[in-house]
């Protein structure tokens, strides 16, 4: 029981400190609203149904982009990890693309995809692709060569070799990539949703930023934090399920 509470200790302490800080008037509440103000903003947005709508549409964009980008990143990582030729051909290009900021790309994205949903999903997919790629690639590269040899000796090749040996061996690293890309997913969305949006958490946050609705800004930050925790919990559940053979993950709570 107590173990379930401890991880929340620091967030809760911060919250209390913040409430005191603002209510004592150290900064103007116009600039940094108190948690209670944020709470009321949330209640208000919930009642009008706006919040649910924003979260919902963002979730849709996020998952579409995540699935596309994650799949491509995973496959690329796979091929480049498995085949030297493909690594030689593609790795340099991927590494070059990796560093291009989404924000700088927006003009080109508008050119290619217009200003509709495709553009947003493309950006999310692009953002998600690289962490998945990099960690898959690394995971596959570090699978014990001895085990692969063994599998080949026992008649595994192609897909069975991959399913039984390479994938499970790379899994813990792939999961790190997924975990990270779940974060990048939300971060990208805020950029994607600045392209001509009227909905989504990113829109909500950026709009609030333009019009300095500090309570909404803080609300959206908290929302991101919660979503972060949520995707982390999911990733951990997967880890617990898939890595139960691994002594280090055995007792992860």
């Amino acid at each position: 029981m107590i173990k379930k509470i401890i991880p929340w200790g620091i967030p809760i302490l911060l919250l209390i400190g913040w409430q005191l800080f603002t209510k004592l008037g150290v900064v103007s509440s116009k600039i940094l609203p108190a948690p209670t103000d944020v709470y009321w903003a949330a209640v208000h947005l919930l009642q009008t149904g706006e919040l649910a709508q924003h979260v919902w549409i963002s979730l849709w964009r996020a998952s579409a982009g995540f699935l596309i980008g994650g799949a491509i990143g995973f496959l690329l990582g796979l091929f480049n990890g498995l085949f030297r030729t493909s690594e030689m051909l593609l790795d340099t290009s991927v590494q070059m693309l990796r560093n291009i900021p989404h924000l700088a790309l927006i003009p080109l994205v508008i050119l290619w995809f217009g200003i509709g949903e495709e553009a947003k999903i493309f950006l999310v997919a692009l953002g998600v692709l690289f962490p998945v790629y990099l960690n898959t690639f690394h995971g596959i590269k570090s699978v014990d060569q001895g085990l692969i040899e063994m599998g080949r000796m026992y008649g595994l090749k192609g897909i069975p070799l991959f399913l039984h040996i390479i994938f499970p061996g790379a899994l813990s690293s792939v999961l790190v990539g997924i975990r990270f890309s779940l974060g990048i997913m939300w971060i990208t969305l805020i950029v994607a949703e600045t392209i001509s949006s009227t909905s989504g958490i990113g829109y909500m946050a950026m709009n609030a930023r333009e019009f300095m609705q500090m309570d909404v800004i803080v609300l959206s930050i908290l929302l991101y934090a919660l979503l972060g925790k949520l995707s982390d919990v999911i990733a951990r559940l997967l880890e617990r399920r898939w890595l139960k053979w691994h002594p280090s993950y055995e007792n992860v709570s």
Binding site: G146, L147, E149, M150, G151, R152, M153, Y154, G155, L156, P160, H164, I165, P168, G169, L171, L243, W245, H246, P247
Partner: protein
């Protein structure tokens, strides 16, 4: 007077070197179909390397391996190897490790072979929870269930106590005599070599220095006197080598008479 048998495997001037040092130096050996060969030799003399070459996991630096007359390139699909270090998949339970690579449902078969190596009660454990010898027996079970036409065993019983060891030896012999695959067994236990093999090959400094047929009938009994004298003869060879072979070529070895066990014919490197 040699019986003409089909030659399953042939090593022709086989060489392997890891950059500066030569590990195997122009080996020549013929192995017949269904023959059981034991390979003995000092630690680091290249036994595992030889098996890896036969499995096609390494490419020779010179010479070649002929598999039924054809030179071996790439992985040897007929072979099955039990590695010196076990190599169980940590993410598969014992039973799944054993049935790895089998097509179709082989659950019962896998359970049966696990029972034979005495580990049916561990079938749902993770490998990380097994003892050293248990891991080795799982690896052995996995090699035995695969029914290859060439079985390569790299010190399969190194971590086992005397009793379990003898049980496993009879298991290997039983399965071998039933299926008649060609077998190569690397071992550091000369008794084991003599009790299982048709021929014992002694590897020293990258060369085959002895190639001793074991003419004993099966099942072999360790308390037979011939058994003991062959074991002693081979041990002597091994113990002598460091002094004997230094500076001396293989040619000089060739004519050496077999004093200790006169009833046993010795064919040297063929």
């Amino acid at each position: 007077m040699k019986v003409v048998k089909t030659s399953h495997l042939e090593l022709v001037n086989l060489q392997k070197s890891y950059h500066p040092t030569a590990v195997l130096d122009r080996l020549n050996l013929q192995i017949h179909k269904g023959e059981f060969i034991a390979i003995v030799g000092k630690s680091g003399c290249g036994k595992s390397t030889l098996l890896r070459l036969l499995a096609g996991l390494e490419q020779p630096s010179g010479g070649e391996i002929r598999l039924e007359g054809k030179p071996l390139t790439g992985l040897n699909r007929e072979a099955c190897m039990m590695f010196q270090d076990g190599r169980l998949l940590p993410w598969k339970r014992v039973l799944d490790n054993v049935s790895l690579g089998l097509k179709g449902d082989h659950r019962e078969e896998a359970e049966a072979v696990l029972r034979q190596v005495g580990l049916d009660h561990k079938k749902d454990e993770w490998p990380a929870k097994l003892s050293g010898g248990q891991k080795q027996r799982v690896a052995l079970a996995r090699a035995l269930i695969h029914k290859p036409s060439l079985l390569l065993l790299d010190e399969p019983l190194g971590a086992l106590d005397a009793l379990t060891r003898i049980e496993m030896q009879s298991l290997i012999e039983e399965i071998w005599s039933f299926q008649r695959f060609t077998s190569l067994l690397v071992t550091h236990d000369v008794e084991e070599a003599v009790s299982l093999a048709d021929r014992v090959v002694l590897l020293h400094e990258g060369k085959i220095t002895q190639n001793i047929p074991i003419p004993l009938k099966r099942p072999r009994k360790r308390d037979q006197s011939t058994f003991a004298s062959i074991v002693n003869f081979i041990l002597e060879q091994i113990l002598e080598l460091p002094r004997a072979a230094q500076g001396r070529g293989l040619e000089e070895e060739t004519g050496r008479p077999f004093h200790a066990v006169p009833s046993v014919r010795v064919s040297n490197v063929d």
